[in-house]
Symmetry: C2
Subunit: 295 residues, 2 copies
């Protein structure tokens, strides 16, 4: 394969800029019975996310949460797919949960989840990344604003914006325990960031991000344009679908109430990874699957 | 004066404990026309805080906010009463604003504020501390849970629980921009903390607290007992009165929306400071007034 043109250059220029999105948001295609209504797709096209309460029933929620707890308890100290809080041993994230948990493996094939994703991305998909994020009570650190796509493009070689992230909440998300925040409409713009990426950046970036950080002027403009910050909250079992380029982040959690969210990224099989556009070594497979296994 | 008995020992034992409050919450006394209703006082007695929307009118709000902005712009790099964000030059707090701003000096004498405070504390009061907290957008750091009284007792020598803190919001406080959070009812308990206080602790503690930090078990118990975390939000100009021993804190603010709050502490003239109960040197006057000037 020839070297690909970089449609979304980032971390290359000394000043940040906002570039237009050059890909569809909704690719469209055959609609299954579990697919989304046209007006729901329009909403996704406009806002870059969709939120669904009560996606999991009480029984599934309890079972999956217990299984994630098991993974946390079994986490080996030297497992590279286990990320800990800055300055501590508290487990913050575990990757590849769809391979470690039979329940998650089944969940990602649930048509109520998979069909909307296929519909948005216009065909077959595979899991690019999956993880469980434990934002523990008392000391859950913030995740600063970012576009996942920017990182996946620069550090993993994802060519186009043709991926959807799915968050499933496993505990109550309140406005005060560091819920996911999204900037509606930000997915239509690409914030090119400054700063070169060091090798093996992922070893620290999963704890605290220093590169691929959008500048404040761009963030301020996009929030102002949106007129709001979206932050779906409610009991565990809710689902949020969001575009790979939607700016999102979360505040710290000093409340005693832990916030545990499952996170699965589906990528189109037409959008398989190439060499990272930032020129660094590809990150490990548990962060960015290089093998395409259509679901 | 004889050495005082320490009713609220803290930072002395190797394990934390919860001690009972040994002072009234509402001291009571003569009621002025601007005083609080009996049922409102009952609520304060029970919850340890009261919240009032629209305390400042639009005109006063704008004028005071502009005056605080002036103080921020005029802040000298070597002014000890100016505290900056951890790892940066961004101004986080400025102390003694009631001496630096004629508008704040007038505000603290406003009977709508002063009379309820006098009524709660049972007589004349003076300003123990005043400050403006700028929780800037994008990088406002969290304030971890704490009882102000614990610190004022150990580090400043405040003998009894007979002080009221007043927060006046100068910008919109939303659930997502790091608003004040309070644990209702926590003022009735005293969480004795562990760890000895180093000399000149205040030079770092105003940026990030390492001593006088309540343990997680006690915090968890008190939040569970409360059944909720209170977090008054809304447009600027709102007022919260809270007891000196009410546990409170706030999360980070990664939103672009700054959160600017004025903070004034009134202490009873019967409760003037003595030697710090922790045995360290008293902190500077701009943090803890040692001269009593009744209002």
């Amino acid at each position: 394969m020839d070297a690909m043109v970089d449609l979304y250059p980032s971390r290359q220029e000394p000043t940040p800029s906002i570039l237009p999105r050059r890909d569809p948001v909704v690719y469209g295609g055959a609609v299954h019975a579990e697919g989304l209504l046209p007006e729901t797709l329009d909403q996704y096209q406009r806002d870059g996310y969709l939120s669904f309460d009560s996606f999991l029933n009480r029984e599934s929620l309890t079972a999956i949460a217990a299984d994630m707890e098991r993974l946390r308890n079994e986490a080996e100290p030297d497992d590279p797919a286990v990320v800990r809080e800055p300055g501590g041993d508290v487990v913050r994230s575990i990757f590849e949960v769809h391979r470690r948990s039979a329940l998650v493996a089944r969940l990602i094939r649930d048509p109520r989840l998979l069909e909307p994703v296929r519909q948005i991305l216009g065909g077959p998909v595979y899991v690019h990344q999956s993880r469980i994020n434990f934002k523990t009570g008392f000391d859950g650190a913030p995740f600063y604003w970012h576009s996942d796509f920017e990182t996946w493009h620069v550090e993993d070689g994802m060519p186009r914006m043709r991926a959807v992230s799915v968050q499933i909440t496993l505990s109550e998300n309140t406005p005060l325990n560091g819920p996911l925040m999204l900037v509606p409409g930000s997915h239509l713009h690409y914030v090119a960031c400054v700063g070169e990426t060091p090798e093996d950046h992922y070893k620290t970036s999963l704890r605290q991000q220093d590169y691929g950080v959008p500048d404040r002027t761009s963030l301020g403009l996009l929030v102002e344009r949106a007129g709001r910050i979206a932050s779906p909250t409610g009991p565990g079992g809710a689902m949020v679908l969001f575009d790979c380029n939607t700016l999102h982040g979360s505040n710290s959690n000093i409340t005693p109430l832990p916030r545990t969210n499952l996170f699965i990224v589906f990528n189109s099989v037409e959008n398989r990874l190439v060499a990272p556009f930032g020129g660094t070594r590809p990150r490990p497979d548990f962060i960015a699957a290089r093998e395409v296994v259509p679901l």
